[in-house]
């Protein structure tokens, strides 16, 4: 710099662009904490997300894989499986989005009683252990179902598309509900008022203002539900019957046939629609969003009070909520009775089995591993959010995208990728010094810590995206000048993050942690291939119990799992806090 002459000519544009990139990295490099953070994040994304997916795709493209591709895509059996998968995905996406929309609309725009209760009940399925909803539905509406046979006298065959649509909709509609409710609340009531003022009726406003404004949210929810549905493994395992989908087929390929190549090929077929939807969601819908979030909406929305609108909608909402109550009621009742609907004697045997008996190990292991993964996922999520939203460097969009892949790809795919990548130790041989183990064997028999590391990694990978999105959303609400003020006053990046940013995004951090813990405790598809005799995971145990028809034990597992998650939320609320301290509170004495 000292040698630069004041009269030097302006460099050509291309050099400047390159210099700028170097300068951006140089600025990050100058801050050791930030630099370490960036390196850690990139390593994590490369090793835990990209590499397994890449390995799986590579495996599917081997000679044997290509053969299988041709076979699968031409065989009528597999064509039907693919068709089933898409059909189920579309149906669940449509029904789930519709249910979510109605619930959100009622919650935000219609004058109905018990709104708080409706909200809480609608969120209950978010903490649903896999298999729980499906098994409960089976007991309620199956051939010997408490309702279908017991009350209606109908020997209903719930296995197949109808049953799957029911349980998947119940499991995933809260995602659409939350999404659309947020958007509806952000709609400026002045829009409704302006339309009313111009003489539009309620119905006309709904058609010409509300729905068009929410199209991005509706489309987004539809796509999200579609991906969730086609990736779901637990429900089709219980309720699929003869209706086979890709996720179950992949599971059978690994667990029944030990054929990783076949599983990889099927996974790639499943990956295509998932990734397609992810890309569409990310680059199309997020760009066409017309909802402007300007902090607090002005004015109070006018509630719809017409009885002919209110009561039918209220009845519809209550029906959905009744289903949720029934399902969770069966889970609860099933956990406390010998065999629900056959021998209704109250018993604590199932809990004894889980807490003191065979299940205690799984309970401890799962909680422990989830507890390890949760803070890591939370911090990583906030760190990546900070880097992506606040720092300028080439590749930050790629970093965001790659992190999001952790949830965009179906869990089974991640599991197979881990099997392929971490089934042996990764070693590096240096001259003279000898051979080092970079990453030890993480999966399968004789893996370090019984495969626990791989499971924790998967937990983190599956949880970070939600924390990342929550973090980015929170950061976008914070004026960057606040952080610049801190730096201008002499604080470095790390100090600013710790003293200013983190406290201000505390609510996002908190929800990221809750999500991470709940997700880890309930995940099945991603870890089902990674459990070993050394590490027992509750969700896997639940599957065993369900497969062996010991529903009581399965339900006891579910109840305990839900209890652990609720207790953890309580602990996190106290330990992390849910507020920033910046909220407006009326201080006594203040005018």
């Amino acid at each position: 710099m000292e040698t630069a002459t004041p009269k030097r000519r302006i460099a050509p544009i291309q050099t400047l662009t390159r210099n700028r990139r170097i300068a951006e990295f140089w600025r990050i490099f100058q801050d050791p904490v930030l630099f370490t953070g960036l390196v850690l994040v990139v390593l994590f994304v490369a090793i835990a997300i990209i590499d397994p997916i890449y390995a799986m795709v590579k495996e599917s493209l081997t000679e044997k894989g290509q053969e299988l591709f041709r076979h699968y895509l031409s065989s009528p059996v597999y064509q039907r499986i693919i068709r089933n998968t898409l059909e189920m995905g579309l149906l669940v996406a449509a029904v789930g989005t519709f249910v979510g929309f109605v619930m959100a609309y009622v919650q935000v725009k219609v004058a109905v009683p018990f709104k708080r209760l409706i909200h809480i009940l609608a969120l209950v399925p978010i903490i649903s252990p896999p298999f729980a909803v499906a098994t409960a539905a089976l007991l309620l509406f199956g051939r010997n179902g408490i309702i279908s046979y017991g009350i209606l006298g109908e020997r209903y065959d719930i296995y197949g598309l109808d049953g799957l649509t029911l349980v998947l909709t119940l499991s995933y509609f809260p995602v659409a509900y939350l999404n659309l409710r947020g958007m509806m609340q952000a709609l400026d009531p002045a829009l409704d008022e302006a339309a009313t003022n111009l003489g539009a009726s309620r119905w006309r406003i709904f058609r010409t203002v509300t729905v068009p404004m929410l199209i991005p949210g509706i489309a987004g929810s539809f796509l999200l539900l579609f991906v969730e549905a086609i990736a779901d493994l637990g429900n089709p395992l219980v309720l699929g019957g003869n209706y086979e989908v890709l996720a179950t087929r992949i599971y059978v390929s690994i667990v029944g046939l030990y054929d990783t190549t076949a599983a990889a090929v099927l996974s790639v077929i499943l990956l295509v629609p998932s990734l397609l939807v992810f890309v569409v969601q990310r680059y199309w819908i997020s760009r066409t969003s017309v909802v402007s979030i300007t902090g607090k909406p002005s004015g109070t929305p006018q509630m719809i009070r017409h009885p002919l609108v209110v009561w039918p909608l209220f009845a519809a909402v209550m029906t959905v909520l009744l289903l949720i109550v029934l399902v969770y009621g069966v889970i609860f009742a099933g956990a406390f009775t010998k065999i629900l609907n056959v021998n209704n004697t109250l018993t604590l045997d199932h809990f004894d089995f889980v807490i003191n008996g065979y299940g205690s190990e799984a309970m401890k292991d799962t909680t422990q591993l989830s507890a390890i993964a949760t803070p890591i996922a939370g911090v990583l999520g906030m760190l990546i959010a900070f880097l992506v939203a606040r720092k300028k460097f080439t590749g930050r969009h790629a970093l965001d995208f790659a992190t999001m892949l952790g949830i965009a790809v179906p869990g089974t795919i991640l599991g197979i990728g881990y099997l392929l990548v971490f089934n042996g130790p990764h070693e590096i041989t240096l001259p003279i010094v000898g051979t080092f183990t970079l990453i030890p064997k993480l999966t399968g028999g004789r893996a370090v810590f019984g495969g626990a590391i791989a499971i924790v990694l998967v937990y983190i990978v599956r949880s970070v995206p939600a924390a990342l999105r929550a973090g980015v959303a929170a950061l976008s609400q914070i004026d960057p000048a606040i952080e610049e003020a801190s730096i201008s006053l002499g604080a470095d990046n790390f100090g600013t993050f710790r003293r200013i940013t983190l406290p201000l995004i505390r609510p996002a951090f908190f929800s990221g942690l809750i999500y991470a813990f709940a997700r880890s405790m309930t995940t099945i598809s991603a870890i089902i291939f990674l459990t070993t005799p050394g590490t027992k995971i509750m969700t896997h145990q639940i599957l065993n119990e369900v497969e062996n028809g010991r529903y009581g034990n399965a339900f006891a597992y579910c109840v305990i799992l839900i209890a652990i998650v609720l207790v953890a939320i309580g602990i996190l609320a106290v330990a992390v806090g849910t507020s920033t301290g910046a909220e407006k509170t009326t201080i006594e004495g203040a005018a």
């Binding site: 302006i10 210099n19 700028r20 004026d479 610049e484 006053l489 910046a582």
Partner: protein, 375 residues
């Protein structure tokens, strides 16, 4: 203002810095991805210790980017920035010994007023007792005593502004930076705060760089104004010089209001030029090199024009009369051109009503002549 003469004692350690910008340029990639936008274009500027310099210009002129280059939130694409003869072009913003007052104040919403002000001192690991003492003194200085335990959202706009200023002052920066700090205040408070800031700056003798698009604010506060346009400096100088001798039509138009009359140089001599304006032959002092026959533009401020009921003068038609109390503003028509005339003393003369005609007079010494190239 609660500030007292103690002000100078509060910040006795302030070392006013000398800030130098040498050929500083900043290029941003265009959103389309095609090429770059030159936000700041070879800006050179020296700011003396204790000087109050305002960067003034319309939005998009590069003034804010220049401030961000000085503060270190942006790095220059080329050129150097020196503080007390040390090159700080690529020093991170937290190591520059400057403090910035933001447009949005950027108070830390989760901290009390006291902790906001103490923040910079705590970052510097100042001893606890010292922190308390110095924060208290600055709060007293800014008239914020007793508000230390409040949170930012419990303060009025003017109080928030003061906290932001106190937070920057307490770290005793060598250069104080202001990014349109008054634009969120209502008109009356803005006038009050600008004189408070100016008084404080003078008493504490802190080198200050102030960004604004409000020319009145710039005129009222600055030792020197730097007028920017399209990333370049159009003109810099004390407020009076900028107003009386604008270097270009842009400056004349942006600072205050101006009427422009095309004219031709008839004779020149000894930094003077003779032109015919409004039917009068006038000899004007000029700084630009002009030769007889050159086309030029005369800048006449509205207040140097005067309407008189005198048939010997060039006659204009009164199109609009606006009685504003202390002044009367006229829009008059001269041939194809509309001119603004401000009568600052309506009580002495008469008010001309719309539709009538009047003669237009001016004093030659108040006319500024621009070469056509500068226009």
């Amino acid at each position: 203002m609660a500030a007292t003469q103690a002000g100078a004692i509060v910040l006795k350690d302030v070392q006013a810095g000398t800030l130098v910008l040498e050929e500083v340029s900043k290029l941003f990639p265009q959103r389309s991805g095609q090429g770059d936008v030159r936000a700041v274009d070879r800006v050179s500027l020296t700011i003396e210790p204790g000087e109050f310099v305002t960067l003034l210009g319309p939005s998009g002129c590069g003034k804010t980017t220049t401030l961000r280059l000085i503060s270190g939130f942006e790095m220059p694409t080329s050129g150097r920035i020196l503080l007390d003869e040390k090159d700080i072009s690529h020093r991170p913003p937290n190591k520059r010994d400057m403090a910035m007052v933001f447009q949005s104040y950027a108070l830390f919403p989760h901290m009390t007023v006291f902790n906001n002000v103490a923040y910079g001192l705590r970052v510097q690991r100042t001893a606890r007792g010292d922190v308390r003492q110095r924060v208290q003194r600055v709060l007293d200085l800014m008239g914020l005593s007793g508000l230390g335990e409040r949170r930012p959202h419990e303060l009025s706009g003017g109080q928030q502004q003061r906290v932001a200023l106190a937070r920057s002052l307490v770290v005793e920066p060598r250069v104080l930076l202001f990014d349109e700090p008054l634009s969120n205040l209502d008109a009356k408070l803005r006038v009050q705060m600008r004189s408070e800031i100016r008084n404080l700056q003078r008493r504490l003798n802190i080198t200050s760089v102030y960004v604004t698009h409000d020319q009145v604010e710039a005129m009222a506060m600055s030792d020197r104004i730097v007028v920017m346009n399209n990333g370049q400096i159009e003109q810099m100088g004390p407020p009076e010089e900028i107003y009386r001798h604008p270097a270009s039509r842009f400056v004349a138009d942006f600072i205050g209001r101006a009427n422009f009359l095309d004219t031709t140089i008839e004779a020149t001599g000894d930094s003077q030029a003779t032109v015919t304006l409004l039917g009068q032959t006038a000899t004007l002092s000029v700084s630009a090199p002009l030769r007889p026959g050159d086309r030029a533009v005369a800048v006449l401020r509205p207040e140097v024009l005067k309407l008189e009921a005198n048939p010997a003068l060039e006659q204009v038609t009164i199109e609009q009369t606006m009685y504003l109390g202390s002044t009367v503003e006229y829009i008059v028509r001269l041939g194809e051109q509309r001119l603004i005339v401000v009568d600052a003393d309506p009580h002495l003369g008469r008010v001309f009503s719309e539709g009538t005609t009047a003669g237009l007079a001016f004093k030659p010494e108040t006319v500024h002549l621009l070469a056509e190239s500068a226009a």
